[in-house]
């Protein structure tokens, strides 16, 4: 990349910085389980739709069957995960990330003559 920060920053040391490590850990602690969960739930739905036709065709209310309800629940879970993640990222990830970013920007500016 041609547009590195103006003053050299020791990124290797920065990566070991406890604040930074905590930020990364916080992100992964939410993002990894959520990703595994939604992918598992999606593939469960796909496999049921492919191999469990009778179960998915069971009527629940009127003509609305299990398959349609599970399909609509995929929409619900997608919207729910989205809202949950956004509020998490806004409240728990953005503030510490901004703190580190501001400090790094000050450091790189400060060295600049």
């Amino acid at each position: 990349m041609s547009d590195h920060a103006r003053a050299p920053i020791d990124f290797l040391a920065e990566e070991e910085n406890p604040e930074f490590k905590a930020l990364k850990r916080k992100r992964f602690s939410i993002v990894v389980p959520l990703s595994i969960a939604f992918l598992a739930w999606y593939f469960l739905y796909v496999i049921l739709s492919t191999y469990a036709h009778d179960f998915m065709s069971t009527k629940v209310v009127g003509l609305i069957n299990v398959g349609l309800i599970l399909g609509l629940l995929q929409f619900v879970s997608t919207f729910a995960i989205t809202m949950f993640y956004v509020s998490f990222a806004n409240n728990k990830l953005d503030p510490p990330a901004a703190e580190i970013r501001d400090r790094l920007e000050r450091e790189s500016e400060g060295v600049q003559p």
């Binding site: 290797l12 990703s35 003509l63 398959g67 399909g71 956004v86």
Partner: protein
Amino acid sequence: MTLTASLVSQATTEVENNPVLNIAIFAAFVAVTMFIVLRASRNNKTASDYYAGGRSFTGPQNGFAIAGDYLSAASFLGICGAIAVNGYDGFLYSIGFLVAWLVALLLVAELMRNTGKFTMADVLSFRLKQRPVRMAAAISTLAVCFFYLLAQMAGAGGLVSLLMGIDSKLGQSLVIAVVGTLMIIYVLVGGMKGTTWVQIVKAILLILGAAAMTVWVLALNGFNLSTLLGAAVDNAAAGVGEGVLNPGLQYGANPLDFISLALALVLGTAGLPHVLMRFYTVPTAKEARRSVVWAIWLIGAFYLFTLVLGYGAAALVGAETIKNAPGGVNSAAPLLALYLGGPILMGFISAVAFATILAVVAGLAITAAASFAHDIYANYMKKGKVEDPDAEVKIARRTVIVIGAVAIIGGIGVQGQNIAFLVALAFAVAASANLPTIIYSLFWKRFTTRGAVWSIYGGLGAAVLLIAFSPVVSGNPDAMIPGADFVLFPLKNPGIISIPLGFILGWLGSVTDRTIESPELAAEMDVRAHTGFGAEKAVEH
């Protein structure tokens, strides 16, 4: 078939023979968007302006543009038609398209925005060797854009016969040429800013139109979904009946094929280069996140509408009428519009469908042009040392003209051919070649240049080869080459093999690679990705 159905098909013929209204509404769309594009182009000075719209779009604006990019004619007309004819299995399709956005939201969007500049290759080559990785990423970007573009252009030809009543080969070719030329003008003049505004206008029209029709269909059925389903069952294709409500109508014969498709749908979206490029049009990673959130709401709502519209078309127009209409299953939504609101609504929906093709090909063209000019020309050929800052944008503009010409010639060439599989192929390549390298670059420290190159070429090659020897290309009457038979791979979707292969090759190439990639660059990328330090800023005008 009922009396209404035959009335609809009669009316259809009349409207199609008198398509002035459809063309007038479409011309109005072109006039309005052209005006916006001209206004937006005033500030197109730097590469950041041209490729990334000056990074000055807000999250919601970009969310609409992403929805505009993503909701192609295939997903609007195709999914409505698939639900109308194949019922539940059409709905399965849309769920994969939506859930896929969680991959983009949770794993890709923000970190890409923080580490990249204009293209996917910026991120992939950040800490690896520039030239081989850029070249590989650019080739796979161009391949995805090409497959997607060709599918859209072929769709345009098919739509013409349906919406404008132009059946002659010459007339259709002419319309394809007009679409291609308009696309070139939009992208040439407007750059990313103009293209984004076209997407936004189109997304608003498409979603509003679909919402209005959804409410209308529900109102006709007493706002009771079960009543609507009952009417769809009554009007289903012969011998299907309640089958439209159950899974298995389309994919029942080959379950593995559907699982393969589902994999490609859910993992492909976050690797589509024209979607990734949209993350650079906003000023910060936070806005990139907001834009994905808006996109998820818009796309999710839209797919819920298509569920109602698809069953509504089956109920009100009838599956047989749709199948026999010019344009086949793609005619479900326009015919439903005709049934509900007469020629004016049909003209509106048809024009929106056309605008959709136009906007999507414009988005693909600017992505391909940026990748060629920025990755191949500036960084591969000139090794990142382009003296004249305008030279890169100049090359990008010339590439747009070439891409437009390829799109027009290709679109005319594939007319009447069954190449709907190209969209699925684009998703499969995105999931097999792009996503593994993106994920590894962002999250796996030991990832090396060889891993990236193996993964990209391996995933791309496997997906394309498997498709070439699959039943969609040869061996049956519906194939692209019906006369020949060189089928070696039984599935229509390569994802189930090529996606794991892309991930395995990325891992294998890295662990067997003795070269050590710069730990400093890896640390810098890590810090920048997670904090946004040093991320590209918006252009101040």
